[in-house]
């Protein structure tokens, strides 16, 4: 019974990991897809990304030595060029990220449905939302570039 329990617990953990990754990809695609509509969110994202880059730069500065960061300048510029840049890259990679989200979401969903433990409703909802977000986000990204 112990081996059986461990096997079931490991399958449940794999399902949770798949769902989490799928949900992350789905939300990312949704945010990128809705960026043209919610321009304020775009500024927020740029700001967050800039903060992350700045932290990383400071870390490397402490660890190694100062270097030129002029290449990071466009990231701090909230002009339309950077926006187009992100849009083009989103358009380029969205189908792949969407495929990852959908495949992992479906795999997670299958594993969750096979696992009969309690408290699985939340995970079923998460996996379903991940798939929906990924598809809607990808469609929104494609429409945002093509239209």
């Amino acid at each position: 019974m112990h081996e059986r329990y461990l096997k079931d617990a490991r399958v449940a953990r794999v399902a949770k990991i798949f769902c989490n990754i799928a949900l992350f990809c789905g939300i990312l695609l949704l945010i990128l897809g809705l960026m043209p509509v919610l321009k304020g969110l775009y500024y927020f994202l740029i700001l967050m990304f800039a903060a992350a880059v700045l932290t990383f730069w400071l870390l490397t500065l402490i660890l190694f030595h100062p270097f030129d960061i002029s290449f990071l300048q466009p990231l701090f510029d909230t002009g339309s060029e950077a926006f187009k840049y992100i849009q083009i890259y989103s358009f380029k990679y969205a189908p792949y990220v969407c495929a990852v989200a959908v495949v992992l979401g479906i795999a997670g969903l299958v594993l969750i449905l096979r696992d009969k433990s309690v408290r699985r409703t939340g995970r079923i909802v998460a996996a379903s939302l991940a798939i929906a977000f990924a598809v809607v986000g990808t469609v929104a990204i494609i429409l945002g570039v093509t239209l």
């Binding site: 019974m1 112990h2 081996e3 059986r4 329990y5 461990l6 079931d8 617990a9 490991r10 953990r13 794999v14 949770k16 990991i17 989490n20 990754i21 992350f24 990383f56 870390l59 490397t60 660890l63 190694f64 270097f67 030129d68 290449f71 696992d115 009969k116 433990s117 309690v118 408290r119």
Partner: protein, 168 residues
């Protein structure tokens, strides 16, 4: 055909219920308990409620590392249970027609019975114990240190690559 209506009260996270070696689906009832139905031709059923540490088995480290890697360095991993409580309950229920077994978890007390039961049929308790997996706590600590070390190694590696790319 005999039927066992199983009801479980407040469930400890991570517990799994098996009847005759098969995990049964428990659904939440209106009264807050979890309920499941098991039907069998036999006149007895073995009910098992188990909770163990996930760091069990000889390959625990390989599994833990595998989960760590596929969850992108633990970012997407689910939390491991910190309490390290183990539950080991096994009983044989004598069935005749429609039977009901209600299980209720006791408060945790190491070495004491994990579940209290109420039933309208004879129940033979084989094992009923709460335990504390001290080995899992040790293994978890080892794993945490390894994870921290791997994160540091990753950060240093990325930083070196970035610096090299910029200088190059």
């Amino acid at each position: 055909m005999n039927t066992l209506n199983l009801k479980v009260g407040r469930m400890i996270k991570g517990c799994r219920v098996y009847v005759d070696g098969r995990q049964i689906a428990l659904k939440r009832n209106k009264d807050g308990t979890l309920g499941g139905v098991y039907t069998t031709d036999r006149d007895e059923a073995e009910v098992t409620v188990v909770k163990l540490g996930e760091f069990g088995g000889s390959l625990w480290f390989i599994w833990a590392m595998l989960f760590f890697v596929i969850s992108c360095f633990g970012i997407f991993n689910a939390h491991y249970d910190r309490r390290n409580i183990t539950v080991n309950y096994r009983s044989v229920v004598r069935l005749s027609g429609q039977n009901c077994l209600r299980l209720e978890f006791n408060n945790f007390n190491e070495g004491q019975p994990a579940l209290a039961y109420q039933s309208d049929c004879p129940v033979e308790i084989e094992t009923n114990l709460f335990g504390l997996d001290r080995q899992a706590a040790k293994r978890r600590k080892i794993l945490t240190w390894i994870e921290v070390f791997m994160w540091l190694a990753l950060i240093v590696l990325v930083a070196i690559l970035v610096v090299k790319a910029i200088i190059g």
